[in-house]
């Protein structure tokens, strides 16, 4: 299965001129998400008016709106994932272009480059080796996990829409309360899984940059210069794991509160479980910030290497 969905993030053809539709699909999915959110905003306005006019439909509308709103947010996040898949596909075509172009552009008269070992650069510590370094375990994990996360997440959110309908139709009853707990716990777990899928895709981008960089340098017969894992990347992994664990824990805690006998017992728990579930997503998003910052740093490092090879032909293997 891993091989099957790895095909999604590799180019269908070696022809770099081929147009892939990821961007259009990502924007299309995003537009659907925004449209859904506009419907939810309209539902909220109707609910607010209902409260103002002393009606009794507000709670029903808001329960339904909750389920649909999470669906809208997750729809756009799936669009983001598609955009990242598009970036991954194009990265491989770019790596091939760099390989082919540098072979032509590199001066024939060049020096030896850095010695084998570790050196400091303006982008952080790097390792100079004869062969490309092995994949990091976290990169292997990222490549295996992004797809299952992106499948399970939306499924949970969709199931949450169904339970939100049950919640909406049973306001003020024990069934409604149970459905409210399931909806909130399940949808935020689903959203957490989608964000984890996005994080794993960002990890896959970092893996591709690392592997691609090594591949290009090796193909040119150069010593392989690889950026060591920066602190931002380590913090990214920690935040992502913490966020995912909180997302799972909040789901379990919502289900636990449903074993309580009275609403009075449940209410204080739900008062902090709401922010806890948001905290889980917040940590995942914070990890994504650090992943993007790491990608920017790696890109800066790689451009400096490409520039150096094109200008001086340095980092040759044989002296």
């Amino acid at each position: 299965m891993a091989v099957a969905f790895n095909k999604l993030v590799t180019p269908a053809t070696d022809d770099y001129r081929t147009v892939a539709d990821h961007s259009k699909v990502a924007i299309g999915i995003g537009v659907v998400g925004v449209a859904l959110a506009m419907i939810v905003a309209a539902i909220s306005l109707v609910a607010a008016n209902d409260v103002g006019s002393g009606g009794e439909d507000a709670a029903q509308l808001l329960a339904l709106g909750f389920g649909l709103e999470t669906l809208a947010v997750v729809t756009i996040k799936v669009g983001i994932a598609v955009a990242l898949v598009g970036i991954l596909v194009r990265l491989w075509l770019r790596i091939e272009s760099v390989k082919v172009s540098l072979a032509t552009l590199r001066p024939t008269d060049h020096g030896n480059g850095s010695a084998i070992g570790d050196i400091e650069t303006e982008y952080g510590a790097v390792t100079v080796s004869k062969t490309p370094p092995a994949s990091l375990p976290i990169h292997k994990m990222a490549r295996t996990m992004w797809f299952p996360m992106l499948v399970m997440g939306p499924m949970l959110v969709a199931a949450g829409v169904v339970t939100s309908v049950v919640w909406s139709n049973n306001i003020g009853t024990r069934t409604g309360l149970g459905a409210a707990g399931w909806t909130q716990g399940m949808q935020f777990l689903g959203e957490g899984l989608v964000l984890a899928g996005i994080s794993f895709l960002l990890g896959s981008i970092l893996a591709s940059l690392r592997e691609g960089g090594g591949e290009v340098q090796q193909a040119l017969g150069l010593r392989v210069t690889t950026l060591k894992m920066p602190a931002t990347a380590k913090a990214f992994v920690v935040l992502m794991m913490a966020g995912l664990m909180i997302s799972m824990a909040q789901f379990g805690l919502y289900l636990y509160t449903l074993t309580f006998d009275t609403v009075a017992e449940i209410t204080p728990w739900w008062a902090w479980l709401g922010p806890l579930r948001e905290l889980g997503l917040a940590l995942l998003l914070s990890g994504i910030v650090l992943a993007l910052a790491t990608i920017a740093n790696v890109l800066g490092f790689q451009f400096s290497r490409i520039r150096s090879i094109a200008a001086t032909g340095e980092w040759e293997t044989s002296s």
Binding site: V19, G33, V51, V73, A271, L292, A293, L299, F303
Partner: protein, 207 residues
């Protein structure tokens, strides 16, 4: 299968590698402060929620509990607005690295420097990000106003309930807009990578 050529990209040509554009400079400078502000917002929001849960358990003043019901989302969504801004600035930083790095590689080969003009997706990314920031921050400020007014007893329960619903709708819609802006930012990165793939081949072919 449809294919593109280098002529399908709108570019500008310069003798030297271009500098970062203003939004990209902002990205470099601001992603860290935004990230720090986000962590603070989340921490404060979660602590306030624990305080509120304690107030509910102890059966304290309902007006105070209702007021805290506005302070908690105010802090959390201050955090979310900041984390989305940090993500957007990190995307701008990536685009900046690509612009400067791509230009410097071309300069190193002794050719003229062709740079992709700002695509429509990048412009829409900035506009939507600004709109979303304003919506979420307005909701955050109004949440605080609502909390203070409720605690002071200035609002009826119906008014308080209506404002809760309006503000929740506003901050949720702001979140959705922000996420869509981020999608457009990522699509722009994909476009830049595609242009660089073409340009590298073109420079090598001319060498």
């Amino acid at each position: 299968m449809t294919t593109l050529s280098i002529n399908d990209f709108t570019t500008e040509t310069t003798a030297k590698a271009p500098d970062r554009m203003m939004p990209q400079k902002a990205g470099v400078a601001l992603w860290r402060p935004m990230f720090a502000m986000a962590l603070m917002g989340f921490a404060i929001g979660f602590i306030l929620s624990l305080v509120r849960a304690g107030m509910i358990s102890n059966g304290e003043d309902p007006l105070e509990i209702a007021a805290f019901g506005h302070y908690v989302p105010a802090a959390m969504f201050f955090g979310f607005a900041s984390v989305f801004a940090a993500i957007s600035f990190a995307i701008a930083k990536i685009l900046g690295e690509s612009r400067v790095g791509g230009g410097s590689v071309q300069e190193a080969t002794g050719t003229e420097v062709a740079t992709l003009k700002m695509p429509g997706t990048a412009k829409a990314f900035i506009v939507l990000m600004a709109m979303a920031t304003m919506i979420i921050h307005a909701a955050v400020v109004l949440h605080v106003v609502a909390g203070v007014s409720i605690a002071a007893g200035d609002w009826t329960p119906v008014q308080a309930e209506q404002w809760t619903i309006w503000l929740e709708a506003a901050r949720r819609f702001g979140t959705v807009l922000y996420l869509f802006a981020i999608t457009l930012g990522l699509v722009t990165i994909a476009k830049v990578i595609r242009f660089q793939t073409f340009r590298l081949r073109q420079v090598a072919d001319r060498a």
